[in-house]
């Protein structure tokens, strides 16, 4: 990877961190409602995996901690922020909110709040790729907690039997909301669990984006070559609570401190400084330009965008312009005895 790509990647991760932290502020100002699940601390996983995928061509789907996956997949930051604000210009026209970012124009097929639900949806996207005969793949990002759902086992089984081109990315941040993995899960190494379905898998450090990219390259190559699914586990940590109402009372300060030292931005920024790709001053300038972009472009767009119209409440429930041949109503002549 050349220096300009390395700088771009660092800037992207800084952007994602500042995007999340700025949405935290907007939430405290009550400009964002509902639940807000922040990705701070896990940036290297989505950024690194999707850097190696073909965004806009491959399908990407995830759970409710979805802002950064959507952004890296190619959803415009303005629209993602506007969605958090519930605006008509948002990614989901203000109907979805933080947990349901969608941008099918770049094949980002949504964030879902039912834990484990994206497993089968991802396998279905992969089934369509296989059926169409393209070399597209589906990439499903979920946390360790999702692996205790029935959909995990059902979907791993079918994905393996049908050799579907789907990459399952497990972001193991050690906690299912407030329950630590040892307390809820018999096999704590998640990559081992798919052995039951004969799916190849591996476990890697999720804080170092170089490691993530190297591992993702191999996994994606496996899936794209038509050899069936792959399950890749990244060990990571969310720096904030599960959602905004979470005080992290279940985690020790010492554990948090150790993981804060393994901040993915610090690790990558430090490496680029050491390699003389960037200086401390360059990084400070980068931070400044990110903050300006978020404030002057992204947040401003969200703030100034219009709310959805109440008259449009019933829009999007069903196809708004259905073909009357399939829908009806029944013409008088069609009535039969």
């Amino acid at each position: 990877m050349n220096a300009s790509d390395q700088k771009r990647l660092l800037r992207e991760m800084i952007f994602y961190r500042r995007f999340e932290e700025r949405s935290f502020e907007a939430y405290m100002e009550r400009k964002i409602g509902g639940f807000l699940h922040l990705y701070s601390g896990q940036e290297a996983v989505a950024t690194g995996v999707l850097e190696m995928a073909r965004c806009g061509y491959d399908y990407v789907i995830t759970g409710y901690r979805d802002h950064v996956h959507a952004l890296k997949a190619g959803a415009p930051a303005r629209e993602v922020m506007a969605e958090l604000y519930g605006k008509e210009t948002g990614s989901s026209r203000g109907r979805g909110g933080s947990m349901h970012i969608f941008d099918p124009t770049v094949n980002f097929m949504g964030g879902y709040a039912l834990v484990g639900q994206p497993f089968p949806l991802a396998a279905g996207l992969a089934l369509a790729c296989k059926h169409k005969g393209t070399d597209q793949i589906a990439i499903c990002f979920l946390g360790d907690g999702a692996n205790n759902q029935g959909t995990f086992h059902e979907t791993m089984n079918m994905a393996s039997v049908w050799k579907l081109p789907v990459l399952f990315v497990c972001e193991n941040n050690l906690y299912a909301i407030g329950t630590r993995i040892e307390r809820s899960t018999a096999v704590t190494d998640q990559y081992k669990r798919v052995a039951a379905y004969d799916i190849p898998s591996s476990q890697h450090d999720g804080q170092d984006i170089d490691i993530v990219m190297a591992a993702a390259t191999d996994a994606i190559a496996h899936v794209r070559s038509g050899r069936g699914p792959y399950f890749i586990e990244f060990m990571t940590y969310r720096q904030r609570g599960h959602s905004m109402s979470d005080s992290n009372a279940y985690r020790s300060k010492e554990e948090e401190r150790l993981w804060m030292e393994r901040d993915p931005l610090k690790i990558y920024g430090g490496r680029l400084k050491k390699a003389k790709v960037l200086t401390e001053k360059d990084i400070a300038a980068m931070e400044k330009s990110v903050l300006e972009e978020i404030e002057n472009d992204v947040v401003r767009f969200a703030e100034e965008s219009p709310e959805p119209r109440v008259e449009d409440l019933n829009k999007y429930c069903l196809d708004d312009q259905p073909d009357p041949r399939w829908i009806g109503p029944l013409a008088q002549g069609e009535q039969h005895g």
């Binding site: 941008d103 099918p104 089968p120 996207l125 029944l330």
Partner: protein, 326 residues
């Protein structure tokens, strides 16, 4: 025009839609090599292959989810659930995903799936194979729910459901697969909305859907012999409900019986009576009467099962009550 069985009508619709569009697939338990529990997909595995007629493991929630995911990427899956009782396992992907994805994506994604599943009591299949559940699906925004009463609608509504861009639930019936009826030889589509006056009458409206339409028709015959002209209305679609056709019939007859095979609570009958009250309360000459199942899990014993499920005589008795003849 040929007379064919309900299962043959479904099979023909599959065959035509699979031939018409390569993006149409069928998936479900035992639908391929085994030909389908009710023969509705028989021979299609041989014709279209394992990639398009997909035998699934017994994993209702996730194979429904796989169909939904595939539909988001342009496929047109027809998902068979062997019995509506098992559809309860698929409620998460069906109701939390398929029914909501268009809305929560602001219209940017859609899930054009078809789910076919038989409801209803058959012959002593007991509580876990006799559910009806139409009332549960009809209350879910984002779905279409249709209930074909015979081969023509079973054929033509399945074809429309495959073409339509919304998720469609087709509720069939365990006891109707061998029922015969005429279906045109030429390709025909039946709309997914609109109730149908199956038999015109002037004295009382008997409203049914799916199997209960046949109870209404049998009751109407008996009423005719007694000099009563009954109108029989097939709802055809439970979501959305055709309010206009219901209103016009009630304004004509002023008396209503609603027959459902399901339990009464928060049911099809309660919904239809609400519609009537909202649309044309002052057209009523008598209070509407519901004919429905007993409020118990369906029993195994033949006599108990018979007592739990309404029949044509129950509809007749309800009609006579509405008419003030008892």
């Amino acid at each position: 025009m040929a007379e064919i069985a309900y299962w043959e009508a479904i099979r023909r619709a599959h065959d035509e839609e699979l031939a018409h569009d390569r993006m149409v697939i069928a998936m479900g338990e035992d639908i391929g090599v085994a030909g389908g529990t009710y023969k509705a997909t028989s021979g299609l595995y041989q014709k279209y292959g394992a990639e398009r007629i997909i035998d699934t493991p017994i994993s209702e929630n996730s194979y429904t989810g796989i169909g939904i995911g595939a539909s988001m990427a342009g496929m047109r899956p027809i998902i068979e659930i062997m019995s509506i009782n098992f559809a309860l396992l698929a409620l998460d992907t069906l109701i939390n995903a398929a029914a909501k994805i268009r809305y929560m994506s602001g219209g940017r994604a859609s899930c054009p799936i078809v789910m076919r599943t038989p409801g209803g009591t058959a012959h002593q299949l007991a509580a876990q194979h006799s559910a009806r559940l139409a009332r549960m699906f009809m209350s879910t925004p984002g779905l279409r729910v249709v209930t074909p009463r015979g081969p023509l609608d079973a054929y033509g509504m399945l074809k429309s459901a495959v073409r339509c861009n919304d998720p469609v639930i087709i509720i069939e019936h365990e006891s109707m697969y061998n029922m015969r009826g005429e279906v045109p030889d030429k390709e025909t589509f039946r709309p997914l909305e609109g109730a149908e006056i199956v038999r015109a009458g002037t004295d009382v409206t008997l409203i049914g859907y799916n199997y209960s339409v046949h109870l209404c028709l049998a009751a109407a015959d008996k009423l005719a012999a007694m000099g009563v002209s009954a109108e029989v209305l097939d709802l055809r679609a439970l979501r959305p409900i055709d309010r206009d056709t219901i209103r016009r019939s009630v304004e004509k007859t002023h008396k209503v019986v609603i027959a459902e095979e399901d339990e009464a609570t928060v049911g099809v009958g309660s919904e239809i009576i609400s519609v009537i009250i909202e649309e044309c309360f002052f057209a009523l000459d008598a209070q509407p009467v519901r004919v429905h199942a007993a409020d118990v899990p369906v029993p195994y014993n033949r006599q108990l099962e018979k007592a739990a499920i309404p029949n044509a005589d129950d509809v007749l008795a309800a009609a006579l009550k509405v008419l003030g003849r008892v």
